[in-house]
């Protein structure tokens, strides 16, 4: 299949409110493969572009469970099975003494899973991305808000999509070369 030379069409907005409204209208108009970019997290924006399934909590839960279980099992195996040491007659399997490290391992694994899970789910690190080809996009990390319709969207038509985005009263509309 021939790769589309155009990655998508991008519209630029002045405010978070304008972006949320435009994102809602675009999604409701039937464009499903879209994305929105903002210089800070905008409340409810992800939901407007059809993002409903955030797997980060699940990743963190699994990471925390693995950390806690492995922390406890490690202490039990070392202290009671592989290397039992009699210290002042304390029991080898001294579960109350194992709580602290079990807790710390839970936090450690859950925290690492949270950060690396977020990065992996976001597909980062990704130093190059077609959206960076738009010169104005450098303001997306400062004070501008962007909406893109990907050319892979079923409803995408170079002319019609551009006209649709222009109808949302953006500051500018540009093609994103891939």
């Amino acid at each position: 299949m021939k790769r589309d030379p155009i990655y998508g069409i991008m519209a630029e907005f002045d405010s978070a409110q304008a972006l949320v409204d435009a994102a809602r209208k675009t999604y409701q108009a039937g464009y499903k493969k879209i994305d929105a970019y903002s210089p800070f997290p905008v409340e409810g924006l992800a939901e407007e572009i059809g993002f409903t399934h955030d797997e980060v909590p699940l990743v963190v839960l699994i990471g925390g469970l693995i950390g806690g279980l492995s922390g406890y099992l490690m202490q039990w195996w070392i202290s009671a099975v592989d290397y039992p040491l009699n210290i002042g007659g304390k029991p080898y399997h001294a579960w109350p003494a194992f709580i602290v490290i079990t807790f710390e391992m839970t936090i450690l694994f859950a925290g690492i899973s949270a950060v690396f899970g977020m990065l992996a789910l976001n597909g980062l690190p990704m130093p190059y991305h077609p959206v960076f080809n738009v010169p104005r996009f450098s303001s997306a990390s400062k004070d501008r808000f962007f909406l893109i319709v990907f050319s892979s969207d079923k409803k995408y038509e170079p002319l019609a999509t551009r006209q649709f985005l222009e109808g949302l009263s953006p500051r500018s509309v540009s093609e994103v070369p891939s």
């Binding site: 978070a16 800070f40 955030d54 070392i78 950060v115 976001n122 130093p127």
Partner: protein
């Protein structure tokens, strides 16, 4: 509301950020410190001095590795001297950074947004300073890795029923999570720096460090979920760290250590000294870099109030220690209290009471809570006081315990002082570098404080 109350609440609610800023001006103001502001002579002198003091620390540690622990003042029965005092002091200072970034986030305290970044950096550097001491005090530091459960040919393992092992896990988890929290907070801001700089090399460096962050709504959603969960994880973690540090003492049977008040009293003391350090850093930073609009009177006041509250908890801890010395009926506990008040180290205990209890009471006065100069000096007094507290706990309990035949005295040597002062130099040198290469205030979180960031459904 009656008039006289109204005016006082208006002063109380000094803004978190002065009005009149936009997304663009907030971004420019903070990123300019890194990108366009030239390094002044003051910065070079400050960094240069801090760097030389760091070199002194490395020299002292090098000599320690050559000659052994004998160059320190530690002698039987005082096996724990400056190294543990300084370790507890530094790790306590770090706690305020996590409190600001995690606990205040969960409590939706929006004023945290302008101080969380450098407070987290402070945490990271303080934990690094703290981590030096346990690593170098083990006698044969090249074997310090024995503290970790690493499979080895000797087929031996660490002993997990000891609180010292708990401490290894608590502190290393704390260091890891603090670093992750700080770094992920920086990702969107490093993307901002990538887009703002004209320097090609810097663009590549920041572009790599921010991992190609582009601010997609899906990314932000997962990012915020991650950030909130990390805050939720860091909150019990930070409380656990100083609790576990206090277990190092409380699980032992030495009089003055074996008490149940230690965990809460240690955590409160940690936050107390940490906020003192936050103020000692924030006051010069806001002045020198002209950030009074972002780090306002509100931040100074709130930090002072946290200090006042945690200081009172600490004072309660001292009170309970003295009360239990009498109420327990244990002659060794009673003697420990007597020894603090009248023994050879009594000046340290009295100075601690003055620094930690009496002087900070002036924070009840609003004029002093909002005066940067006064707060700076009060914070310095609190930091000295909290250091003395750890000295009193570690050294004064060990030097006179059960048998008079095993009493002794501890005198720190010049190497103890060189290592301690050296870590302060290292901490400051790292802070100086941090201010020049990374945004000291979280830019994207400051944007969310602007009224334009609000979105109606």
């Amino acid at each position: 509301m009656p008039e006289q109350y109204k005016s006082s609440t208006q002063i109380e609610k000094a803004p978190v950020m002065e009005p009149g800023y936009t997304f663009g001006t907030v971004t420019e103001k903070i990123s300019a410190i890194v990108l366009t502001r030239p390094a002044t002579n003051g910065w070079f002198v400050g960094f240069g001095v801090a760097f030389m003091v760091t070199m002194m620390m490395l020299y002292a540690i090098g000599y320690l590795f050559l000659r052994g622990i004998g160059i320190w003042g530690d002698t039987t029965p005082i096996g724990w001297g400056f190294e543990i005092v300084n370790f507890v002091w530094w790790i306590g200072i770090g706690h305020a950074g996590t409190l600001i970034s995690a606990i205040l986030l969960l409590l939706r305290q929006s004023w945290r947004n302008s101080i969380n970044r450098f407070a987290e950096a402070m945490t990271l550097f303080a934990v690094a300073c703290a981590g030096i001491f346990p690593a170098i005090h083990v006698g044969r530091p090249w074997l310090a890795y024995w503290l970790f459960p690493i499979p080895n040919t000797m087929r031996v393992w660490p002993q997990f029923r000891s609180p010292l092992m708990w401490d290894v896990f608590a502190v290393s988890t704390y260091a890891t999570i603090s670093a992750l929290f700080w770094y992920t907070g920086l990702i969107p801001d490093m993307a901002t720096l990538r887009d703002r700089t004209d320097n090609r090399a810097l663009k590549i460096v920041y572009g790599m460090l921010c991992m190609g962050w582009r601010g997609s709504a899906r990314h932000w959603h997962r990012y915020e979920t991650m950030y909130l969960l990390l805050a939720g994880l860091a909150t019990p973690l930070v409380l656990s760290v100083h609790t576990v540090v206090s277990f190092d003492f409380a699980i032992g049977i030495i009089p003055g250590w074996h008490t149940t008040i230690f965990p809460p009293y240690f955590v409160a003391g940690a936050i107390y000294s940490g906020f003192a350090m936050v103020l000692m850093l924030a006051i010069p930073i806001r002045k020198i870099y002209g950030l009074e609009d972002f780090i306002t009177e509100r931040h100074l006041q709130n930090s002072a109030k946290v200090m006042l509250a945690t200081g009172l908890i600490v004072a309660y801890g001292y009170g309970i220690e003295a009360f239990m010395g009498w109420y327990s009926g244990d002659r060794y506990d009673a003697f420990t209290i007597w020894n603090r008040l009248h023994g050879p180290y009594a000046p340290a205990y009295w100075a601690l009471l003055v620094c930690n209890i009496f002087v900070p009471q002036v924070l009840w006065i609003r004029q002093l809570r909002t005066s940067p100069v006064a707060l700076f000096f009060i914070s310095g007094v609190v930091l000295v006081g909290m250091w003395l507290e750890r000295f009193v706990i570690v050294v004064m309990s060990l030097h006179r315990d059960f048998l008079t035949s095993s009493w002794g005295m501890y005198y720190p040597t010049r190497w103890d002082w060189a290592t301690y002062i050296g870590t302060i130099g290292m901490f400051l040198a790292a802070m100086f570098l941090f201010l020049r290469v990374l945004p000291a205030i979280s830019i994207f979180e400051m944007r969310t404080l602007l009224p334009e960031a609000e979105v109606k459904e």
